[in-house]
Every structure is written in structure tokens, then in C-alpha cells.
């Protein structure tokens, strides 16, 4: 087993901007993670769990009717088919197994859309760990089905009523718990955000998405895609699918952020498109903030993208130009949601729908011989109640 790469910084971004109390916990986690990844017993157990419990490798589906619309061959990397319905389980299960190895029996997590909370609650149920999930009150309302699922799985849900009552505040509250309980608790962060080693570690635990897709495409098409597209909130599904393609300079990497009600309004979540460097939740990255360094509330129809920061590696990939970041509005995302359902029989998560909508808006951009890889980060079942309230079928 090769030594795993644990960057503390990605160019100027990343770092460990946390209270001193957490530094020893982050050192311990870094050492445990490095040791686990070098231990064939751990990596074999993780591979087994991903294969036989999560259902990896996930399918790579052709999308003939959607491809006809786009004017190129689109391939769907089906993370929606994973156990619990999204890519989140890849990371949650791996970190929960790491926690067991570290002797930590209590797990803390934050959740926005609820998918990471459900994935963490699932992993904890399987491994017999106590699970406490912080979730903003506003998100609990938007994602009540996932709240029920987490409770059914035995997790304790702590409603977060501070600030914007969404993912940002849930993350702060989870970190506050961890500052208090770090000797006995492990914090399973749900995205490629937070202090080192989290961004690099979560990327590695999600990198199976891109490694599989790259091999599947090579086998099915004999080549690499022209473009890889994924939605970006914190950015874990995007880093997961991008990572294997970063060295392939000819492969274009596109991250799609939430433009909310529009980039010209102040109600969006486009930290890569419009943010500036700042420190939130332990890392220096691009951030929505005002001139005084106060974090500006994000907005998106999708709870999973409703976050004012982004993983530091994305900020770095944007700065170096290796990846390109674009943004799609709430209204466009809802069209994307309907489009993939009607054309391919795949109901995507509202998060994924942003990536679908960007492809639809850019149809004709590719030549007919091009292949496009789209990360279907999760399924949209969790979103149907919210979307049906919006009257989408009436249009």
C-alpha cells in the first residue's frame, strides 16, 4: 500500500485554523489515518464494506436521450445507487471504521440536506457507534424525511437554532461539540472542508468515484472524457470524481455551484465564483463574506449546496485554472431535476440537478464524438416533497 497523500495546504488554501484544544486531536487523527491507510487489514476491510455493503463500484450508465439533447455522449456516474442514496456513505463509512480503530465510540456529524447525516447514522448503526447529528432547524424542515431516517437509524438529532439555522451553523455546532469531547469522540465531517487532515482525507475516501469512473470509461469508450461535471457545495463529490482526472490535462473539470436567486442578487452560494479568501470552519478558502470579514449567509434551493464556504482544494484548482467553476440558479436546477427524470428515468438530488442544468444550458458546446462524465451525486427522493410543494409539475 502506498503512502497516502495528506496535504495540509493546497497552494495558499487550507490549514488548521482551529482552537488550540483541537490541535492534538487533529494530530492524532492524521497519524491514525496515515497508519490505517498503510495497513492492508484496514484497506481490505474498507474495500469489502464498500463492495458488499455500499454496493461499489457504482454503475456507469449511458444516457441516450439526455445525450441527444446535449449533442455529445453523456455518462452518468451513479452515486445515487449507493446504499443510502448518495456519495456521502463512501466517506462516512470509512471515517466510522477509522473511529473504531482509534477507539472512539461516539460520532459527531453535521448535515445540510441530511444525506451525510443519514450516511453517518447508517455507518454508526452498522458499527455499533453512538451518533449525534447537528442539523439546522431550517434544514430539518426542508428535509424532514431524512430527519426521520436518521432517528430510525438510532441517531440523536440536535436542532441548531443559531445564525442562519442551516449547514454553516450546524457545522459550527458540531465543531463546538468536538472541542468539548475530542478525547472520546470522532467528528465525521461530511465534505472536503474543515481543518487538515479533513480535506485531503475526505477527498481520498471519495476518490473511488473518479477512479472507478475513469476505469469504466476507458473500458467502455477506450478513452477519457472531454469534460467531467459535478455540483459543488462543500465539494466532496466533485473532488471525489475530479481527483483521478486532475493529471489528465486534456480533461476539462467543471464544478457547478448554486447561483440561488441569481449571482447579481445576494442570495446564492457561489463561493468559488464570487467569494474572497477567508477563514471559516478551520480552513482558509474562498468564502462569501462582507467587507468586515463577517460570513455572509448562503442561499440555495438545495440544502446540500447552501454553504458560504467551499473545500480549499477547489479554491486552489480554481486559482491554478485546472478546474472551472460555474453557477446555476434555483430555477434552472429545478428544470434539471425534471429533465433527468423525464429523459433518463433518474430522479437526481437537487444538488446534482445543478450539474444537469449546466449541461442542458450548454448543449451544442461539444462535438458529437465527445464524451461527458456527469456525477449523479445522489438521488432526489429526499427532495420530492419540497419540489412538489413548489408546483413543478404544473409547468
Amino acid at each position: 500500500m502506498s503512502t497516502v497523500q495528506i496535504e495540509e495546504r493546497f497552494g495558499a488554501f487550507g490549514g488548521r485554523y482551529v482552537p488550540e484544544t483541537l490541535i492534538p486531536a487533529l494530530d492524532e487523527l492524521t497519524a491514525a489515518y496515515r497508519a490505517a491507510m498503510a495497513d492492508p487489514v484496514f484497506t481490505r476491510e474498507l474495500d469489502d464494506a464498500l463492495r458488499h455493503y455500499v454496493g461499489r463500484p457504482s454503475a456507469l450508465s449511458s444516457a441516450p436521450r439526455f445525450s441527444a439533447l446535449i449533442g455529445a455522449t453523456v455518462w452518468l456516474k451513479r452515486e445515487d445507487l449507493n446504499h443510502t442514496g448518495a456519495h456521502k456513505i463512501n466517506n462516512a463509512l470509512a471515517q466510522a471504521m477509522l473511529a473504531v480503530r482509534m477507539g472512539k465510540r461516539r460520532i459527531i456529524a453535521e448535515t445540510g440536506a441530511g444525506q451525510h447525516g443519514v450516511a453517518t447514522a447508517t455507518a454508526c448503526a452498522r458499527l455499533g457507534l453512538e451518533c449525534v447529528v447537528y442539523m439546522g432547524e431550517e434544514d430539518m424542515r426542508r428535509q424532514s424525511l431524512n430527519v426521520f431516517r436518521m432517528r430510525l437509524l438510532g441517531a440523536t438529532i440536535v436542532p441548531v437554532t443559531s445564525g442562519t439555522r442551516t449547514l454553516k451553523d450546524a457545522t459550527s455546532e458540531a465543531i463546538r461539540d468536538w472541542v468539548t469531547t475530542c478525547p472520546t469522540s470522532h467528528y465525521i465531517i461530511g465534505s472536503v472542508v474543515g481543518p487538515a487532515p479533513y480535506p485531503a482525507m475526505v477527498r481520498e475516501f471519495q476518490a473511488c468515484v473518479g477512479r472507478e469512473a475513469r476505469a469504466q470509461l476507458l473500458e467502455r469508450t477506450g478513452g477519457l472524457p472531454r469534460t467531467v461535471v459535478a455540483c459543488v457545495g462543500g465539494g466532496s463529490n466533485a473532488m471525489g470524481i475530479f481527483h483521478a482526472f486532475v493529471p489528465d490535462a486534456a480533461v476539462e473539470l467543471i464544478g457547478v455551484e448554486a447561483a440561488g436567486e441569481g449571482l447579481q442578487t445576494d442570495r446564492h452560494s457561489a463561493s468559488l465564483s464570487l467569494g474572497s479568501p477567508g477563514v471559516l470552519h478551520g480552513a482558509l478558502s474562498l468564502l462569501l463574506q462582507d467587507a468586515n470579514g463577517q460570513v455572509h449567509p448562503a442561499h440555495s434551493v438545495s440544502a446540500g449546496l447552501d454553504y458560504p464556504g467551499v473545500g480549499p482544494e477547489h479554491a486552489h484548482l480554481r486559482t491554478t485554472g485546472r478546474a472551472t467553476y460555474v453557477a446555476v440558479t434555483d430555477a434552472e436546477a429545478l428544470e434539471g431535476f425534471k429533465l433527468l427524470a423525464r429523459l433518463e428515468g433518474v430522479i437526481p438530488a437537487l444538488e446534482t440537478s445543478h450539474a444537469v442544468a449546466w449541461l442542458a444550458a450548454n448543449r451544442g458546446r461539444w462535438s458529437a464524438s465527445d464524451h461527458i462524465l456527469l456525477c449523479v451525486s445522489g438521488r432526489g427522493d429526499k427532495d420530492v416533497a419540497q419540489v412538489s410543494e413548489m408546483g413543478i409539475l404544473a409547468t
Partner: protein
């Protein structure tokens, strides 16, 4: 980074704590959030804390996402921000208060970065003597730590109960003014009981530094201050003062008076 712990004539904070130590007294460090409950009462509170026995005043710069703070200081920050308080506003408030005790700015890193590289000079000009950054542990960002360590303010560093011995020595070697010892795991807020191992925690820090040690987080009551005073050079009281000031500035001042009396009657 070289050692910056040498005391110079501009080290007002270190001098004040050294003078207290010479007199066998314990320092009372009183925290308040700038702009809480509103600007006028915040100004009255700053003056009231100084007039009622605080030796050092920590002025919290309100931040939207205060990770290291419990509910009381979180709410005070929120209220201050809603009232329009900023870092520039905080400095103006300190300047207007014209206090005769040293002032330490207590901030998260992001508002400091956003304020620009001359903010430390502007703070010094406004009458601030020290700075403490809750989310900038040793080694997190050498460039910004150098900026803070070599600037006009005394850069106070925090140590935690989880900090290993060799790291304690490295942190205190880079600190000025005093060492802020976090009493327990967790965020700011009042506690019913002090941690049983607090005297050992203080001794661990004492073993690696000559800097005065002030203990904060979870210290709220006069008898707790007195108990800590038996081992440490000072106490930091925050949430209890802020909670009292939520309703009446007078109540916060009365608490500071009681803390002073308790510390002096060891």
C-alpha cells in the same frame, strides 16, 4: 520565528501583570463583547469594568461564526453585529472609552484579515495593547503569526488542557503579555465546578514559562476566582459578565466588584 518574549518598555500588558505579581496580587481579566448589548451600554460597560476592579479588559470583536464560544457570547456577538458593530467600530469604542487599564483585543482571525494589514497599528493607536486570536494556534499560519508577533500589540497565546508538554513550551516561547490557559475542554461559558486537575494544568504551564498565567473558560463565580488565584496569576471572566450585561450594566459591574474582592481576600 525568533523569540519575541523579551519585555520592552512598550509591553504595557506584561508590565501591568508583573507589577501585580510583585505586589502579590492576582489579575482580574474581564471580557466583554464590543457593541453588546448596544454601543452606548458597551461603552458604559468598558468604563464600568475598569472602574470596578478589572486589571485587564478583553474586548471581543463580534464574529458571525464564533466556533470557540458558547451560547452566551454567541448571542452577544449576534446582537452586536445586528447593531452594526465592526472591528473598526470596536477600535473607535476603545478609543472613546480611554481606559486606564490595558486592553486586549479578543478576535477570530477572519475579521482581522479583512481589516487589512495596518489594523494592528490602528488598534495600537486606538489604545489597544494586546491581541488574542482564538482560531490561530501555533504553526497554523507562520506568516500571519509573524505579523501578529512582530507587530505593535502583545500577542497573547492560548494553551489548552490537551496541549502536550513540548508544544506548551513552543507556544509560550512565542507568547507575550500572559499565557491564556483554557481551563477545560470546550467552548466559553459558565461551569458549576472547576476541573479537578486545574492545579496540575497550571503547574504544567508554569514548568515551561515565566510568563504570567491567566485561566479562563468556565470561570464565573467569585469563589472560583479565589480558588484559581491560589495557583494562577489571574483569571479571565467572560460569559458571566456578558450574561449580567444582557440585562443591566450595573449588574455586570457588581459582579466584577465581587470578583475583585474575592481575588484580593485570598
Amino acid at each position: 520565528m525568533g523569540s519575541v518574549s523579551a519585555t520592552t518598555s512598550s509591553d504595557v500588558l506584561a508590565d501591568r501583570l508583573a507589577a501585580l505579581r510583585r505586589d502579590g496580587r492576582r489579575a482580574l481579566v474581564a471580557y466583554c463583547t464590543a457593541g453588546h448589548p448596544d454601543r452606548a451600554r458597551s461603552l458604559a460597560l468598558l468604563r464600568g469594568l475598569a472602574a470596578n476592579g478589572a486589571d485587564v479588559i478583553e474586548v471581543g470583536v463580534p464574529f458571525s461564526d464564533p466556533l470557540a464560544d458558547g451560547p452566551v457570547i454567541q448571542r452577544s456577538s449576534q446582537r452586536a453585529l445586528e447593531g452594526g458593530m465592526t472591528l473598526a467600530g470596536t477600535l473607535a469604542l476603545v478609543q472613546e472609552a480611554a481606559l486606564d487599564v490595558p486592553v486586549v483585543l479578543f478576535s477570530y482571525l477572519n475579521p482581522l484579515i479583512a481589516a487589512g494589514t495596518d489594523v494592528l497599528e490602528r488598534a495600537a493607536a486606538a489604545g489597544v495593547h494586546g491581541v488574542l486570536v482564538t482560531d490561530l494556534p501555533l504553526g497554523a499560519d507562520p506568516e500571519r503569526e509573524r505579523w501578529l508577533g512582530e507587530g505593535p500589540l502583545e500577542f497573547v497565546r492560548l494553551v489548552a488542557p490537551t496541549t502536550p508538554a513540548e508544544r506548551l513550551a513552543a507556544i509560550t516561547a512565542h507568547g507575550r503579555g500572559f499565557v491564556y490557559l483554557i481551563s477545560r475542554l470546550g467552548v466559553t461559558g459558565e461551569s458549576a465546578e472547576l476541573p479537578a486537575d486545574l492545579p496540575e494544568s497550571i503547574a504544567r504551564v508554569r514548568a515551561v514559562t515565566d510568563l504570567p498565567i491567566c485561566v479562563g473558560f468556565g470561570v464565573s463565580r467569585p469563589e472560583q476566582a479565589r480558588a484559581i488565584g491560589a495557583h494562577a496569576d489571574g483569571v479571565v471572566v467572560g460569559s458571566a459578565i456578558v450574561r449580567a450585561a444582557d440585562t443591566r450594566v450595573d449588574a455586570a459591574c457588581a459582579l466584577v466588584r465581587d470578583l475583585r474582592t474575592a481575588l484580593d481576600s485570598r
